[in-house]
């Protein structure tokens, strides 16, 4: 029977191959935007590529997202040729292979990838008809739309505004005049040099840690900071502060307070260690791959005590009493408490004598943040590894199966036997096996006593097994492989894009019935190409993370700021849908901006209103809100009212040269009293709008006029009213406990103006 099958197969191949090269083909609109974009790329290419699951088939396709020009043309031609060949291959009386394989017939190893009644399948049928010279349904995509250069008609942010955006975003401050000058005179070269300096400031590293915590969420691990230190290995050192000598504090209450403060700082210091590793790597211009490959961890004087290695590292600290100074350190291989191997070997296997550090991966914090269970078997950790370091969301790939419950019952180990399950588990489970020395929820070192599961794909990475001699350092092995994987650079570039823009890189569109599929795919392709290009430069620069910041800052995707003309065509609108930054400031960013512009933080939005204003706690709330709800709108109103209340009157009281808001106007300058006074007020508005909103509008601009009218109208209306106090209010107008005179109501009118400006998108968005 099998022989007959083979014979038939050989015959069919002979027949079909004979006809494969008959026609000289060139990829047209239909093939590129329908057959390829909606079927080939989405349903076939993931297996049918030079290194995919179907690499041994005779239907090998080329990717087209990251190529342009002649390379793209060549790839399209090759793909068309492959499709045409499959369209011609058929046995007498049967449908061509191109129409049988995708619906799961002819022993298609990928089983059914298209339903017979799907749009994708209809496209293939039409393609076959076309190949046969028959009339076929037209393309579902808009033919009349002829895409032009992607950024045509898009205006870019000016250098000065770009600089302000970057200094605020990365360091929470305004640019200095020297920086402005550098950018004015040397444009992009000046910007690069400025960014180089900016990225050495402490504030940048705070922002970097905050940004990467948004991604890795290591701050959100469960329980007190010190719980990452297992009782089994650190029982003598982890509570070191209980025995810390505070006898120099005589007052008992004060001594207790000091102890509490010390424990708080200790816990915080431990929690921050993974993010400090990131900061350390970037601060020292080390290759960013070191966040995976570092054979050390970061410790502070407090956390080093917790690990019991303070004496070994104390000389390396500049200030051994600073709980938040960090230095690299290595842990010795772990030894079970009291020489009693409970839940772990007596001594951790190590050929170096040290704990096999593998950057973030081997930190107890990362492991505890993504815990495992007996049935999960480290798969969550494997999933997060793929997401964090290779940019692959495994769960996004989940395909519908006809009856998952039946599969569960049919197979003893469905994850190794059922095709529907194997497709993901073949990648996930080997990586899960690499985490086998940490088989617990706590993130502690502790291998499974009976050895790692044998009913799973064995430890390794994408087809490569973990060598036995590397078992003791399996995460280091994984880290080294990852550092060489081109997907790492792309994933990290995407993370920096997220940090800068507040949103994830575009995902490829998948809904082939969407009439805007083609422009959405183009938008994705353009952004993807840019990210790939930046990732390439990042890798070429020995993975210096700062290169990504500099490259993305110059990228048209970051600089796009407006349009030269209204866009009418829905396809063009869809292409531009995600362009530009326009990011609602997160609570921390808003506070930093307020500090930069007013001299001090407001303090409320990063504390009691943090979650309400869309912030995260890294644990139960892990995604920042990007669109303002009514609650957030209310907070913006409170902030605008309160910040103007706090700052307007005191600003007027200062020497003019020391004022941030009103350096060239006084409260006795009343609108309508003289043209000169009106001019002063308008100039003051120009300054305020520049300072608060980065607007550079001329004095006769309608927005200046509108603000002037607001100021004038408030003053005029107050003049009409009886019983208006001639002093500023109790809450907003006291200096040294005394109410400040406001005889013309100008202080309150300026407060209205500042309130108005603080509610503008230019203030609340980046």
């Amino acid at each position: 029977m099998k022989q007959i099958q083979m014979m038939l197969l050989a015959m069919s191949l002979q027949v079909s191959l004979t006809g494969a090269d008959k026609t000289d083909l060139s990829p047209d609109h239909y093939f590129v935007n329908e057959v390829w974009a909606k079927v080939g790329e989405l349903s076939c290419q993931k297996c049918h590529n030079a290194s995919g699951e179907a690499e041994d088939s005779r239907f090998i396709l080329q990717e087209t997202i990251l190529v342009e020009g002649t390379e793209l043309q060549a790839a399209n031609e090759a793909n068309l040729k492959a499709f045409a060949k499959m369209a011609r291959m058929r046995k007498e009386g049967q449908l061509p292979r191109l129409l049988l394989k995708p619906i799961g017939e002819m022993d298609h190893e990928g089983e059914q990838v298209l339903k017979p009644d799907s749009t994708g399948y209809a496209i293939l049928k039409a393609f076959v008809q076309r190949m046969e010279g028959k009339s076929a349904p037209a393309a579902t995509t808009e033919k009349k739309y002829k895409p032009r250069s992607f950024f045509e008609g898009v205006t870019m942010i000016g250098d000065e505004s770009l600089l302000r955006r970057l200094t605020l975003s990365l360091t929470g401050r305004l640019p200095t005049s020297k920086e402005k000058q550098a950018v004015q005179q040397k444009s992009q070269v000046g910007l690069d040099a400025t960014l180089d300096k900016l990225m050495t400031e402490d504030a940048f590293f705070d922002r970097l840690k905050e940004g990467f915590n948004d991604i890795f969420l290591t701050n959100g691990y469960d329980g007190n900071g010190e719980l990452i230190l297992s009782y089994n290995h650190f029982e003598k050192s982890r509570l070191w502060y209980h025995k810390y000598d505070l006898s120099h504090i005589k007052d008992e209450k004060e001594r207790k307070e000091a102890l509490y403060a010390m424990s708080r700082e200790y816990r915080k210091a431990i929690r921050e260690e993974p993010l400090e590793l990131i900061a350390h790597v970037v601060r020292n211009n080390r290759p960013f791959t070191e966040i995976m490959t570092a054979d050390y961890m970061m410790v502070s004087p407090y956390s080093a005590r917790g690990y019991g290695i303070f004496d070994q590292v104390k000389k390396r600290f500049k200030d051994a009493d600073n709980p938040f100074e960090y230095v690299p350190a290595q842990l010795p291989a772990l030894r079970a408490r009291n020489d009693n191997p409970v839940n772990a070997p007596l001594v951790q296997e190590s050929k170096t004598g040290f704990y096999p550090h593998a950057g973030l991966l081997s930190t107890f914090q990362y492991l505890r943040r993504y815990p495992t269970t007996a049935t999960n078997r480290n798969r969550l950790r494997a999933r997060m590894y793929y997401q964090h370091f290779l940019g692959i969301d495994v769960m996004e790939l989940a395909d519908q199966v006809s009856d998952a419950a039946a599969i569960d019952v049919k197979y003893e180990t469905p994850w190794m036997e059922a095709a529907d399950c194997v497709v993901c588990h073949r990648s996930i489970d080997p990586v899960a096996g690499l985490f086998q020395d940490f088989y617990n929820e706590e993130g502690h070192f502790g291998p499974r006593p009976e050895g790692w599961f044998e009913d799973m794909f064995g430890p390794g990475l994408e087809g490569e097994n973990l060598p036995q001699e590397d078992k003791w350092r399996s995460l280091q092995w994984l880290a080294q492989k990852t550092a060489k994987d081109p997907r790492f650079a792309v994933a990290i570039t995407e993370h920096v894009w997220y940090l800068l823009s507040g949103r994830k890189a575009l995902r490829p569109p998948k809904d082939v019935d969407d009439p805007l599929f083609t422009p959405r795919r183009r938008a994705y392709k353009m952004q993807r190409s840019e990210i790939a290009e930046v990732a390439k430069r990042f890798a070429q620069a020995d993975f210096n993370l700062k290169v990504i910041f500099k490259e993305l800052a110059k990228s048209p995707f970051y600089r796009a700021d407006g349009l030269k003309a209204v866009v009418e065509h829905p396809h063009r609108k869809a292409e531009l849908h995600d362009l530009g930054v326009t990011r609602l400031l997160a609570p921390e960013q808003l506070e930093r901006k307020i500090e930069a512009l007013f001299g001090e933080r407001w303090g409320k939005v990063e504390k009691e209103m943090k979650i309400l204003y869309g912030g995260i706690n890294s644990q139960s709330v892990t995604e920042r809100l990007s669109e303002p709800s009514g609650a957030m709108g209310a907070i913006q109103r409170i902030m605008a009212n309160d910040v103007s209340c706090i700052h307007v009157t005191p600003d007027f009281v200062r020497e003019p040269t020391k004022r941030r808001l009103f350096p060239k106007v006084e409260k006795d300058v009343v609108p309508g009293s003289s043209p000169a006074n009106d001019l002063k007020i308008r100039k003051a508005i120009v300054h305020l709008q520049g300072h608060l909103l980065d607007r550079r509008e001329p004095i006769d601009h309608p927005e200046i006029e509108r603000t002037f009218k607001l100021f004038s109208a408030v003053v005029a209306e107050a003049a009409k009213r009886k019983g208006i106090d001639k002093r500023e209010t109790y809450h907003c107008g006291r200096i040294d406990g005394k109410l400040v005179a406001d005889p013309h109501y100008t202080l309150r009118a300026w407060r209205a103006v500042v309130t108005y400006l603080l509610r503008q998108p230019e203030f609340l968005y980046e």
Partner: protein, 428 residues
């Protein structure tokens, strides 16, 4: 009117994110949106995967349950349920729950989640779409379609909460948070201490409205910036309606986690500022110790549902609630090597509230907890020719119940169910 608005948005390059009241607001005509008066949609999530055989789909055979046998199964009207009264240490037993709510409860057994991983299952159950990250949850879709201008239109307390960019999601962690923001124009929220005199505040609002309108006319922002501007303006303007909520905030807010969420949602419903809410508690993922976990969590969960209904009664909005009670997956019909149960792709869902005929059970699973197909027209068992009911079938029925199945927002996120598969008369 709504269609014209959407057309207007399209022309302006605004996508579908601008509030309905934009034009009026921009001209300073409306100070705050009208109160939304229902129906209100509440989606309860038992996050982690509940064991349906300890609730509405009892088995007691084939070693599926260790806490009871088939003969112990109880009934109330058409409902069959697992006995839990003897196991419950804290919270509401099944016996009490079905006794109180059986008459208005619709149970659907035999839901095919299709896969059994938390993340995609949550997405699928929340949106009706497995293979897209873009689709909104039903709660978000309902909020956007029914009252987009409501300041807290879609409240979420966890679980999958994507909005499809149709409406902002709102998080309100504590009832006090609402008090904190209810009077935004007064110092520390004290109404008698306004920051600005009334006339000054009116002039600020007027200038903001004019500015938003003028900016739109003077320059051509990118679509994203245009959307942001309109959403920001709407958020600030509509937030004025939040003061309506304060009278309904409980003086003694409940401490239980689900009841606290329900309390906030109900205050917002009653204040007319909210359309829908996702309520959620976790820890149902009982791989290690299934029976103790489920016997602790199911009663807690039911207590939360009970609190919602009772408090809604007090607020006189009970008859306006539509309640969906669900989880992202079920648990295996057997215990694992330990005391736990793992993920199972077949489960159940419960509904009650406005437009839902209770005392009914639709669908079924067999004695091994496999799905039994149903006839989509009669909703009766049809093992030969029936359909496997998946989340998209339920979501389409929910869209129909809410009267939003033809809304442009729903059409933007189609569920693509062939006519011959649509569940007919699911809600009675």
């Amino acid at each position: 009117m709504r269609r014209d608005f959407i057309k207007f948005c399209g022309k302006a390059g605004l996508g579908l994110t601008m509030p309905l009241s934009w034009q009026g607001l921009a001209k300073g005509k409306a100070n705050e949106p009208d109160a939304y008066e229902g129906p209100y949609y509440v989606v309860f999530n038992a996050s982690g995967g509940w064991d349906t055989t300890y609730l509405m789909d009892p088995k007691g055979v084939n070693d599926i349950n260790r806490l009871y046998k088939e003969g112990d199964i109880l009934t109330n009207g058409k409902h069959k349920f697992a006995p839990t009264a003897k196991q419950v240490k804290k919270g509401m037993s099944n016996e009490d729950f079905f006794k109180v709510y059986g008459e208005e409860l619709l149970v659907f057994n035999g839901m095919d989640y299709s896969i059994n991983n938390h993340s995609p299952c949550k997405r699928y159950m929340a949106t009706g779409k497995l293979d897209s990250l873009a689709y909104p949850t039903f709660a978000a879709l309902a909020a956007a379609s029914l009252a987009k201008e409501a300041p807290l239109g879609f409240l979420t307390f966890g679980n999958y909460s994507a909005t499809g960019n149709l409406v902002p999601m709102a998080r309100v962690p504590y009832p006090q948070s609402l008090k904190l923001i209810a009077n935004a124009d007064s110092v520390q929220g004290i109404a008698r201490l306004p920051y600005h005199d009334d006339f000054a505040l009116d002039l600020i609002e007027k200038a903001l409205g004019e500015g938003a309108d003028a900016a739109h006319m003077e320059q051509v922002p990118l679509p994203r910036a245009e959307r942001a501007k309109s959403m920001l303006y709407a958020a600030q303007k509509n937030s004025k309606a939040l003061k309506r909520v304060t009278p309904f905030i409980s003086q003694n807010a409940p401490k239980e986690r689900l009841a606290r969420q329900a309390d906030i949602a109900l205050s917002c419903f009653k204040g007319g500022v909210c359309v829908s809410a996702n309520l959620s508690i976790g820890q149902f993922d009982s791989h290690a110790t299934n029976d103790p976990d489920q016997m602790r969590l199911i009663p807690e969960f039911l207590t939360g549902v009970d609190y919602l209904m009772k408090r809604a009664e007090e607020l006189k909005i009970r008859d306006k609630l539509v309640v969906v009670i669900q989880s992202e997956m079920g648990r295996t019909p057997h215990y694992n090597k330990g005391q736990g149960k793992d993920h199972w792709s077949i489960g159940s869902i419960m509904f009650m509230g406005q437009g839902i005929r209770g005392n009914r059970v639709v669908g079924a699973t067999d004695e091994r907890q496999f799905l039994i197909p149903i006839d989509n027209k009669t909703l009766s068992i049809d093992e030969e020719n029936g359909i496997r009911t998946r989340p998209e079938h339920i979501h389409l029925a929910l869209r129909e119940l809410a009267g939003i199945e033809d809304h442009p927002f729903s059409k933007k996120f189609p569920l693509k169910i062939p006519e011959e598969e649509r569940l007919q008369g699911l809600f009675g």
